[in-house]
Symmetry: D3
Subunit: 245 residues, 6 copies
């Protein structure tokens, strides 16, 4: 099967990180196509940045329409995700919802470890939109501004591990979610050092997207995830307009 | 004071409808500036259409940055609203949240009368994002495709009134919200025919936006509604990029 | 338009404070009529005190029945509010619900800064009754008994400011609500010192009540906010009995 | 032990009904003292009527302060209950909360059968204030105005039974609550005709109040149910003022 | 009346503790029959232990089928409770649900004081299954492993009292629930030292079970608590199989 | 990898159905070991039956301890699941939670189509225990008693399809979950006839269990899903006792 993985921010270094982790996870028979947002910001921490990233992801994915069996939106917070699910008739999976699915299968309450203080509000709202606030033990995050989005794991390894341990001991987390594409792969390097399961977003998203493609549940031609009703539009990139007409 | 009112869809006829209702409501000392989404769809019924409309609204509003004391996002469902609140340091009010505020002040439970079946899921999610699901009595809507978005009030007046009465009698609504910019003004024409208060989105949004400007609560320089942190960006319209830099 | 503002506690000094703030906010064309509870306690901190204050407000307002276009119940916690909305066919607005409406339009999560520890439980229950617990970041309050209800702002200014800053930094508040009629006007004096919007109850209530009157939504003759069904009654003050017969 | 049972409405016929049912339930060693609201309405269906009834109950109970070991507030909807619990340092039990406690011990989800359509909103809010909305299967009620509040059981027996059966079959109720003091005793007469447990408010309240007295849990001198803080008051009935000073 | 009280763990010392407290509470006319789980663990702290304890309780109670008017499941966390309610057509009451009922009648928010850190998750889920999470102020517990389950009260008296005081002062508890059969009776010994009501599980369960038997609400022959539908079974203890056939 | 799949009821015909569907789904490199509950009932519809099935599943799985990389509990309603997750240090996945995970990744709201009316209450409680009640559009079920649990798909195909269509049209379901091991494979045969995605429990559980094994998240040695603390036990099957010691 062919999966398209779109990085909703403009950082090619993050796309490379995502790709490395995705290739480690994907089945041998899965082909991965990467894309980076054609416009937007270096990394997404806020609702406005997610709005831009969501639209940019739609534009990027539309360019490949008809060429993939599943789409992965590879930013925590799932920018534009619900809208993108309407647009394509193949499974569309976000990093957050995938991590939440893994976490819910592994325990009752989970904590999210994040890369910036500002990002917390957006993550909480994303968990709430998934209806899972009652299973969220806490969100804990780095506090200081990031020196380099591409090296955040290396720069802050010890602090990130400490945040995970605090979430277990003080917040009652049964599972740790390491959040944000810049932390892709950190879960592996924490292995054996954290006394509860640790979930990674990229690998969860790739794996769950493969599963949905394999399970062949069928797509929506009615209901709220069917393609938007045909109607006049204007000013959209041609690939996107084509999907709506 | 000066208010900018942006119609997130591309229909100039809807912008005209919004403007007419807004002018009826606004204080004599309030100046209204209208804008229509520079790209998008004819009217917004789905999450994807709201994603496009939200970004288009940001682009339109950015063109007027610094020239308004308050911003009204004039589509029910509040496309992009939380993101837009981060972007500007003046009050930003959405039609739905404004109608919900009016309804909550007038009674305990409200019903929403909408113009299309498809639009219901998006409205429900919008009410949930406002944390108000426990006060939502029901969403009721027209079922048939719309002949003309500019004349939906005239075409369906009797049916819309009937839906409101059913919401009161069968769903226990204390207040009726007439939803969607294409229904702007319908609340006035229903006056005296519906035995509970009827709330209109456009006039609520204009009035509440004026109130927030007048109350001078101050703006956010910290917390999750402060301007997004400065960071590299690319490919954004110049007016938008300027707001982020 | 004419607004009646009732102070549900018996402190004339608090009534004066409310009036001063209300006059600053009200439109030039709005006439304000003040009333103080004819019986009750010096200030309201508990559910029982609110029960007394609610009934006293009904008695006071009934004396002016037919002479106002809108009624403001000027105690935080909204004593008797839902009942009062049934009694009058004009908009009836409480200080808490008005502050919550302002706060919800200005951000996602709010904290309440209150004047006594005891008052916290009642405020939490009031927020819950408004269906907004998911948007409440925290309630923080002064802990020590009050020397003088009329000078609490002056006596505790620094501590109140500190509580607001803690709510932002530690509880994730996007908006601060300064609660309680004795703090009317404090929001203004905090201006520029708190890095998020600050909401005042009295001015929010006056402004939103004016809005509801202006929007002319109609009143309830059916549903749960219609006048109570006519039935035998006894022992009520004549003005109140007249409203029920 | 001595229990004071206050009927928050002014109907002596309802007081008699309550007393009859209470005497059937109370232990031989329990002494019952009845009181009827000194002012108010014939029966309580709305939030405003409950406000009056709550204050009237406080006035009535205060007359007997120090002479009872437990207090039963004998109207469904529990007028003024949370406030009354602050006022007295003995157990204070409401008919609704008592019926809810019984129902929760007998099954997972319950339905409430009520005597008037108007009363439904108030009952729902009462269940919500108890935090039990997730266990409420439905509220079903008579629709027509009552001929005589004292004979509602006899006048509407067949319809009330039918409502209970509908709640079981259509709403998934595991338990039926027969609500409202005017229906006191109906549960007994339905015995054997309803295929799930049926709960009566008066007998539940008497029994649970006796239990709380017997269990000797201690009373609150701190926390939100302690006596309200001492402060100036005015215009209260002497017995009530005495309790606050 | 005859009550069967089953201890779902295998510790006879705990059964003795339960019996002592139950006899103090039960009416003179109530006969108590004790039973101890025929298999399982020394005390129940986790979901798996509760699964074993629930089935063991069913096996133990089935041996006495037809010989009791009410059944008390005497472990906090209520192992197997909902299933047991289906099995018998007499009232079946769990220690947790009984303590919650008492606590809800005594205040708005309660805290649970527990004997082990591990037990907290299970208790929280039990409160949630009762639909009462919004009334839970906190769970606080001993942290260290227990020396002897039969003497935990004596070994940790001071610490347990301290936890209760912290729950009141820091978590806003209106009521304290002393949780776990090994703490049966502790509430009595804390009397006068805790400034809010203190609830004991065993005595609450006995008392409420007596009440339900006395109230004669009838049993379920329809709905989700009727006896399970007759169908093939295998390998069950004869007494249990007999109940299902 | 090796997966153990336990059928918590005693029907070998259902085990065969589960195995057939599981083999269709499992990766070529996955080895499946089937087990049937050693005691219990023919199929599980109620909380008590689930209690028995949960314990029976523990007994069956303990016999294979150390011989599997993942465990699937193959009954809808997930009998004993949370307890089983404590017992084994490999991923343990239930049919319901797996189906819910698939459904949540495919849309916002789902409906469950079930094989008996009685089963509805248990399923609703299971969804609630997963924290997902806000995403449940409805549960719809066959009403009549089943002739043969092994042929329910064939006997009721048309009715099951009709229930799914009603859930979409009347309840707003975005996704259909076909619930219950006896319906394993029905989702495939409905393909193309239902206009939204259709989720099957068995194949979802197998696939997600494989994913969790492959993702290597680590297991819990702390927190509420660690192995239960060592303590005296008695009367357990040797294989189970060995796991606890």
């Amino acid at each position: 099967m062919k999966l398209l993985i779109v990085n909703p921010n403009i950082s090619e270094s993050v796309t490379a990180l995502i790709e490395a982790e995705a290739r480690r996870t994907a089945a041998a028979t899965t082909t991965l196509q990467m894309a980076t947002a054609p416009f937007g910001v270096a990394y997404i921490e806020t609702r406005f940045e997610a709005l831009v990233g969501g639209y940019a992801t739609a534009c990027a994915a539309a360019e490949h329409a008809g060429q993939f069996d599943g789409l992965v939106v590879a930013a925590f917070g799932d920018p534009g995700l619900a809208g993108l699910k309407e647009l394509f008739d193949v499974p569309v999976v976000g990093m957050t919802e995938a991590a939440l699915a893994s976490a819910c299968l592994l325990g009752q309450r989970f904590s999210i470890i994040a890369i910036s203080h500002r990002i917390q509000a957006w993550y909480r709202e994303c968990v709430a939109a998934n209806g899972l606030s009652s299973r969220l033990a806490s969100v804990r995050s780095l506090q200081e501004p990031l020196r380099d989005i591409g090296s955040v794991q290396e720069d802050h390894a010890a602090r990130l591990e400490q945040l995970a341990l605090q979430a277990i001991e003080q917040d009652g987390a049964d599972v740790i979610i390491v959040a944000g594409a810049p932390l892709a792969g950190l879960a592996r390097s924490l292995q054996g050092r954290i006394p509860v399961p640790v979930v990674d977003g990229v690998s969860s998203a790739v794996r769950h997207c493969e599963s949905l493609v394999a399970l062949r549940p069928g797509s929506a031609t009615q209901g709220s995830f069917a393609r938007p009703p045909r109607k006049p539009n204007a000013g959209l990139p041609p690939a996107l307009a084509k999907l709506l007409n």
